[in-house]
Each structure stands twice: as C-alpha cells, then as structure tokens.
C-alpha cells in the first residue's frame, strides 16, 4: 500500500510538472499539449473504438509472431546446445543474426512479402527467434551435469531427461531470453508499423504515424502512453509470475 501511494504521488507530480510547463507557455501548445488534451484524445479514441481496434491488431501480430518464435526457438536452442554440428551451423547463425537490430528486417520483409500481415509476422518472429535460441542454448550449457546423472540413476532415458530435467533446470536463462525476445519483437513491430501501412490492419504504430502526419501531438503522446502501458502490462502478466516462481524455487532475487 505504501509503495502504491509513493508511485501514485510520483506520477501525479510528473503530470503536475507537465501541466505547469504548459501553463508557463515556453513552447507552443502544438508542440506540448496539455495533459487534459491528451486525456481527451484517449477518451475519444477509446469511445469510438479506434484505440481498441488498433491495439487488437498490434497484439495479434505480436502474440502470434512471438509464439511462433518461441515454438521454433526453444527446440533449436536445445539442439544447438547438444549437438556440435547444430552449434557450428544454427548456433553461429543465431549468434550473428541476434546482433542485427530487428528493425533491420523490415525492408527485407517488405520486399519479400509486400505490405502484408506476413511481413509483420516475419519481423516479429525474427525479433524473437534468435534471442530465444541463444538463451536456451546458454541455459542448457549451464545445467550442472550432476542433475542429468542423478536422473539417469533413477532410470530416466535421454529424451525424458531433456524434457523433465535439462529444460526446467535451464528455466532461469530461458525466461530471461524470452523476455529479451519479447522486447526485441515489440520494438521491431512498432518500427515496422510506423514505417509502412498494412492495408489489412491498422495497428498502434500506424495510429502513432498518422498522429504525426496530422500534426496531432495529443494523439502522438496518447498513443505513446498506450504503448508504454501495454509494455508494462506484458511484463506484469507474461513474465512476473514466471520470475516470481523462479525466485521462490531457486531462492534468488533477495538481496
């Protein structure tokens, strides 16, 4: 409760400063609209459904691409950690492509797939995949060999050991890799949506882009606010439960 109050006071103060800056008339209201205006935009956009529509379009692209990236990335990471051949091929490829900022996939995706949903999906998958492969690979390599030995003495066969021992033992690494993959995917999707118009769906990035085209600063700031809130919610809903579980079980995270 105390922490909630502290947070609330901080953000209210931030709004206060913003409002004061507007009142001080240092910048034109076109450049810095009043928080009330931004709130008004958000309310209107929420009422007429544009905001919800755009959020749904964006989230669908993100979640679908992210899920595909993980479903492909996890097994590939297990394979690269286990087999030298995979390490020297897929492993090296993943290491190289992970250094590529995922927004750099956008031009390629547009040429290959045109202005389509597939292009968006492709960008999100590329943002997720490589981090997940590398994190899984790294996690598997950090599993103490004694776990697998113990499992073997209890009669576990290699596949069972991989799924029931090696995989859960690597979870701390895998979850942080998934978190990184999420961040990369989210950023690249926003970049892609701002960059190009996809006729099949009008996402948050487009909303932001048209805010600029219309010189509507209240829309620009309003959409940015929504994007931040989605990022925060994703962290709390998708990752916090996992991280809490890991901290509780492993006894980490307490200083």
């Amino acid at each position: 409760m105390k922490r909630l109050i502290a947070s609330a006071i901080f953000f209210l103060a931030l709004l206060g400063v913003w409002h004061a800056l507007v009142l001080a008339k240092i910048w034109s209201p076109v450049l810095l609209p009043d928080p009330k205006l931004v709130g008004g935009y958000l309310l209107d956009a929420a009422k007429d459904g544009t905001l919800l529509q755009a959020t749904l379009v964006t989230m669908k692209r993100l979640l679908l691409g992210y899920a595909i990236g993980i479903v492909i990335g996890l097994p590939l990471g297990l394979v690269t950690a286990r087999f030298k051949f995979a390490e020297d091929t897929i492993g090296v490829l993943a290491l190289g492509l992970q250094t590529l900022p995922s927004v750099c996939w956008v031009p390629l995706a547009l040429i290959w797939f045109g202005q389509t949903e597939v292009a968006m999906l492709f960008v999100v998958i590329m943002g997720t995949l490589w981090s997940v492969i590398i994190a899984t690979d790294n996690g598997v390599r950090n599993v103490p060999p004694i776990y697998a030995r113990a499992a073997r003495t209890m009669g576990a066969k290699p596949l069972y050991t991989l799924i029931r021992v090696v995989f859960p033992a690597s979870l701390p690494f895998i979850v942080s890799g998934m978190k990184q993959g999420w961040a990369f995917a989210w950023r690249s999707l926003m970049a892609a949506e701002i960059y190009v118009t996809i006729l099949t769906g009008f996402g948050l990035g487009h909303l932001l882009h048209y805010g600029r085209e219309l010189n509507a600063m209240d829309q620009v700031i309003g959409v940015m606010f929504v994007i931040v809130v989605i990022g925060l919610l994703a962290d709390k809903i998708l990752f916090s439960p996992w991280e809490r579980f890991l901290h509780r079980r492993w006894g980490t995270g307490k200083v």
Partner: protein
C-alpha cells in the same frame, strides 16, 4: 492402497560381484589407471565402505556399479546378471545432494517414482511421504530446496534414493560436505534405516572413522593404479557410536594401514 503396500514391501537386497574391473582415463597429464584388476564380493544386505585417498578409483567403481560408466575390462554382476546401464535396483547418492531446485521436497522424492509404471500420482505421493517420514522430514514436504540446510538436503536425497525401493544403495561421500554435528546424527539415522529397509549399501568415503562406524566391512584402496589393498571386518554391535573407544581401535588400525600404502607409493 495395494500398490502402495506393494511398493513399500521389503525386497531382498542384491548380491554384487565385481570381477577384474579395470578402468583408465585419458587426462591432460597422460593416462590414469583409476582401477586395476579390482575384484570384490559383496553379500546380500551387507554394508561395505570403500576407503582410500583421492584418485584411488573408489568413486569410479561406484559409478561403474551404478551403470553410469563402463569398465575397460572385467564386469560387475548384480545377482549374477551383468550391469550395463543404470537401473532402479541401484540408486545413487552424491556428495552434493543433486536435488532439483525447480521441484519442492516432495516433488524431488517423487521424481524417481514418476518413472515407475503401475503407480498413480496419489500412490506416488503416499510412497514419497513414507520415505520423507523415514528420514524425519515429514514436516518439510512443501519446502523449496534452497530453504533446507545441508543435512536436510542430504536427507531428502536419501529419501529420493530410497523411494524407488532399490536393492542396492550407492553412496558417494554423501556426508563429506556436512558439519560434524549433522554428520553424527546422520550416522545414527543411516544405520537405523539400513536395518529397517534391508539394503545392500556401498559407501565411499575418505573418512576412516566414518567407514569404521558404518561398515560391516571396510575395503581399503590405494591409488596409481587403483587397487584393493586390504579388508577389515568390523565386528561391533549396532547401532554404533562414532565416538566409542572400540571404534577408535579399528579406525586407528585402518589409518595405520592406509599410511603404509601411501608412504609406500611415495617411496616408489
């Protein structure tokens, strides 16, 4: 219910025969003869301690019996059948508890049981609870592993090894990392459990007193190459107290022999 009773039934401990087992390792410094033509007979339900300085191959022998490693030559028979891979009839305990941090205490003990067919989850839980009670941890079934002390961890590891009802228990310096007080307690407990559950136990240690306290027989190894040098039968009633005077007599005799073999090696 019947399945649980069946699971907790006393099964006959196994007889082990180690026959001319040799094992070499290739290391950076050349070839290490971990075991050289080692033979050892262990009768059903016997508690045998393997003692020797590090590098004498006693842990390697345990791994071979567990089926985790293969000998270069020779073989190990369990009830007359050669051992080629790990099996639930032989469970192993390690120096580090090797418990799984992603599972709680009960989950860890149930891990080995999950690999057993013919049991449903409720029965597994019941069997696991029985063994946790046996090691005195019935109150900690839902604890996380990191919340346990070193001694408690080894108790959980013991329960996990006992749960699939093996006929042989292989223990690789299981108490080496514990403090003296905890160890003494466990010496008592392991003897009680051994008598209650009728297992053949092979116990590796470099602590001579510990070996004399626990073993029916103490087998002395010397390194480079790893060989069995001498055997001592410990004729003391159980449960034995690690601090008793009679025990001290045995352990000083074993220590003397051990020193002999080590100085012999230095002289060579």
């Amino acid at each position: 219910m019947e399945a649980v009773a069946e699971e907790l039934r006393q099964i006959a401990p196994a007889k082990l025969a180690v026959e001319n087992v040799s094992k070499r390792f290739h290391t950076g410094q050349g070839i290490t003869h971990a075991l050289d033509e080692v033979s050892l007979q262990i009768t059903e339900g016997e508690f045998v301690c393997l003692v020797g300085p590090s590098g004498c191959g006693k842990s390697t022998l345990l791994n071979i019996i567990a089926g985790l490693e293969e000998p270069d030559s020779g073989q190990v028979l369990s009830d007359g059948k050669p051992i080629s891979e790990p099996g639930r009839d032989r469970m192993m305990m390690f120096q580090e508890s090797a418990l799984f941090p992603w599972l709680d205490v009960l989950g860890n003990v149930m891990f080995g049981l999950r690999l057993k067919p013919n049991l449903n989850d409720k029965e597994r839980r019941e069997v696991a609870r029985f063994y946790l009670k046996l090691v005195g941890l019935e109150k900690s079934t839902r604890s996380n592993i990191h919340e346990l002390s070193g001694g408690m961890k080894q108790r959980v590891a013991l329960a996990r090894a006992l749960a699939p009802n093996p006929r042989v228990l292989l223990m690789d310096e299981p108490f080496a990392a514990l403090d003296a007080m905890t160890r003494e307690q466990l010496y008592g407990d392991i003897q009680t459990i051994w008598q209650a559950r009728k297992k053949t136990i092979l116990f590796v240690t470099h602590n001579v007193r510990e070996a004399a306290c626990l073993g029916d027989r103490v087998v002395l190894f010397s390194p480079h190459p790893g060989r069995i040098r001498e055997e001592f039968r410990i004729d003391l009633p159980r449960p034995r107290d690690i601090n008793s005077v009679e025990l001290a007599g045995y352990s000083s005799a074993i220590t003397r022999a051990l020193k002999n073999y080590v100085s012999e090696e230095v002289a060579e």
